[in-house]
Amino acid sequence: MTTAPSIPTLPIIDSPIHPALTNVSLPSFVDEHELPSREGSRVIQFREALREAMSEEMRRDPRIFLMGEEVAQYNGAYKVSQGMLDEFGPQRIIDSPISENGFAGLGIGAAMYGLRPIIEFMSWSFSLVAADQILNNAPKMLYMSGGQWGCPIVFRGNNGAGGQLGSTHSWCVEALYSNVPGLKIAIPSCPYDAKGLLKTAIRDPDPVFFLESERMLGDKAHVPEEEYYIPFGRAALRREGSDCTIVSFGRPVNFCLEAAAELANEGISVDVLDMRTVRPLDSAAIVRSIQKTGRVVVVDQCWPFASVASEVITQVVEKCFDYLDHQPLRVNTDDVPTPYAKTLEQEYLPHKRKIIEAVRSAVGKA
């Protein structure tokens, strides 16, 4: 009892997996060109792609459960989880009351204990009542516990204007939440990526915020039969060009592609980079593209002030200032609460015309 305390030296952790996170099996990732083809005839909806991702992973790992409002008996407010109650039963597909802070925290506690929760927010707009749990607990548990407990959890749901839902229901949370270290944010723009990214999110041992869009749930595209995982932090080059780089993520990527097609008619060719995850952010891909084009327009569906667009532009000037032939530009939603009226809401979004005008001005053809 009276011997002087002995202070051992502690080894540096060298394994790729943190010792706090046993039972984690990261999928093995392949390069973009080795992924199964995006072309094909197995055309399904975005919501089905999400469902397949969850169901495949749930079949693999009994620790995974899905909880949220109306996910079970109602088959999902937006039918994302349709049929999952039938397959997995009420112990794994669980309807919750309207208590986002409570069930988000429940998920975090369950993740600490060793489960792999998927928590659905009917809309990320409703995640504000759960902000403390998702921002103070999930992303900080590993740090606060000195590496003892991580938080392998996926929060997912609709993000962004859903179509005349008014200002309380149209949040784009990435501008707010991406500021916080400890979490990862994925935001797919098409069914193929939705599936591949969600499967990766579920496997990842860190908390992942997965941002979908009500406006894309019905979008259809080929999704391959075979299993695939899309790694985080790798942007996809959706279209190639040489005059300007367009950087976007989530739903607006589709507006960018429309804009790019029209700009091509004017003789302006653009790179369209789909970031797919905003945290991690594949700034290397942005830099590569700007080294070619010298110009960049960032398209973001959040309000502008301190948004991901601001961050992208800041990283651009930090990382390739000398390659810039024109000041970086951004297109956000208008800087006002989301209006209900159709006329106002349409103008409010970062729509095609705004993107075209920004690119024209970047290439000096405004």
Partner: protein
């Protein structure tokens, strides 16, 4: 503190009063069935916490410890008595007044003190501090700083424990849950029924999170017991000034279909006697519980509290019912004779032995402080960007890449 000197014997009730109260002569209570050694260990646990906290206060006053620091002195019986009623692998989560929970769960005073010193051998490598004591091998899922936030985590721990028992037991090849800190490849043995203890202060009753958690627990049948460490104050606000129905808190639980109980938290033996069967029932029925556990903190809210909201006399009144003194008196009273609180004396502890125990504990805590003093500070190069992500990836930050740092000494 009163336990620093040998306890004076409190006045004995007449055996007539005792018989009326049903304590003498009726069937034995749960604590009466326990061996002397267990009760002596409880006493020791409480004394350790108190001594540890005295040292914590001293270190704080010397500015060795920073931040907010909430002292547990006065509430020791709460944590020792409730822990005694559950198993070591039942998950526990609490608020920021958490040193007692850490020690009573089995964290070494070294790891606990080093954490407050912000040192590398602290339970969280100095990253968590006084309010955030985590101990995975001892199933302590943290002290938590945001009032009420841990109540949802408690629901989640109970959910997972029940899921383990109900779903994973039946899933072929299901892995061992890693919350226990055991290696992943340990063969799975069937999980049993667990019960989670989730502690909260009386001030946390008014956080929405708690009510959402009660409803979820009631609805889903989650085996979590919400133990309100009702010390009568949240900072300077007495419970009556902040909480409606302060005199009948179990009514709040009733609104969620949860049958709560009130327990006197200053008498460890009767606390255990009431809490043990209650906890057993919650475990057996896989149902939530709610305990209004009336206790008292002798010190201010945190180290910087001038305590103008209460009188010295009020504090003294509680100190006269000190839980350490009371248990010591029972253990030292002649075996079978009525002792303080209506308990039967155990006659298993001499004044000599008691003093030895005191000396031992003093030395143990002194060594813990020495350990904390000598433990190295975490270095920014190795620790600042570590433990942020379990799976660090490029591009997560514009400043620097994250990496894995120094191994936590508890793991």
């Amino acid at each position: 503190m009163s336990a620093a000197t040998a306890p004076t014997m409190p006045k004995m009730p007449s055996s007539e009063t005792l018989k009326q109260a049903g304590r003498v002569g009726s069937s034995p209570t749960p604590s009466q069935l326990l061996p002397d050694a267990t009760l002596i260990r409880w006493l020791r646990d409480m004394m350790l916490i108190r001594e540890f906290e005295l040292r914590t206060m001293a270190a704080y006053q010397q500015a060795k410890i920073g931040g907010f620091c909430h002292i547990y002195i006065g509430q020791e019986a709460t944590v020792v008595g409730t822990f005694a009623a559950v198993n070591h692998d039942d998950p526990v989560v609490t608020a920021y007044r958490d040193h007692g929970h850490a020690l009573a769960r089995g964290m070494t005073p070294e790891a606990c003190m080093a954490e407050m010193y912000g040192k590398l051998h602290g339970c969280a490598k100095g990253k968590g501090g006084s309010m955030h004591m985590f101990d995975r091998p001892n199933h302590l899922y943290g002290g938590h700083g945001i009032v009420g936030a841990q109540t949802a985590l408690g629901a989640g721990l109970a959910f997972a424990a029940r899921y383990d028992w109900e779903v994973l037991n039946k899933a072929p090849g299901a892995p061992v849950l890693d919350g226990s800190g055991h290696p992943a490849d340990r063969p799975r043995t069937p999980a049993g029924k667990k019960v989670c203890l989730c502690y909260l202060g009386d001030g946390a009753l008014n956080q929405g999170c708690f009510h959402e958690s009660l409803n979820l627990a009631g609805l889903f049948g989650l085996p979590v017991i919400y133990v309100v460490e009702n010390n009568g104050y949240s900072m300077g606000t007495s419970i009556e000034r902040g909480t409606t129905m302060a005199h009948n808190l179990v009514l709040k639980a009733a609104g969620y279909g949860i049958e709560g109980i009130e327990i006197d938290g200053l008498d460890l033996l009767s606390l255990y006697d009431k809490f043990k069967p209650y906890a057993d029932r919650c475990r057996e029925n896989q149902r939530p519980g709610f305990v209004d556990l009336k206790t008292y903190r002798y010190q201010g809210h945190s180290m910087s509290d001038p305590q103008k909201y209460r009188t010295k006399e009020e504090v003294q009144k509680y100190q006269e019912r000190d839980s350490i003194d009371r248990l010591a008196a029972v253990l030292m009273s002649p075996k079978g004779e009525p002792a303080v609180g209506g308990h039967l004396g155990r006659g298993c502890l001499s004044e000599e032995q008691f003093k030895d125990m005191q000396r031992e504990i003093k030395e143990e805590v002194r060594l813990a402080v020495e350990f904390a003093e000598q433990s190295p500070s975490p270095e920014a190069a190795e620790e600042l960007y570590t433990d942020v992500y379990a799976n660090p990836q490029p591009g997560l930050s514009s400043i620097r890449d994250y990496h894995h740092g120094v191994r936590n000494s508890l793991l």
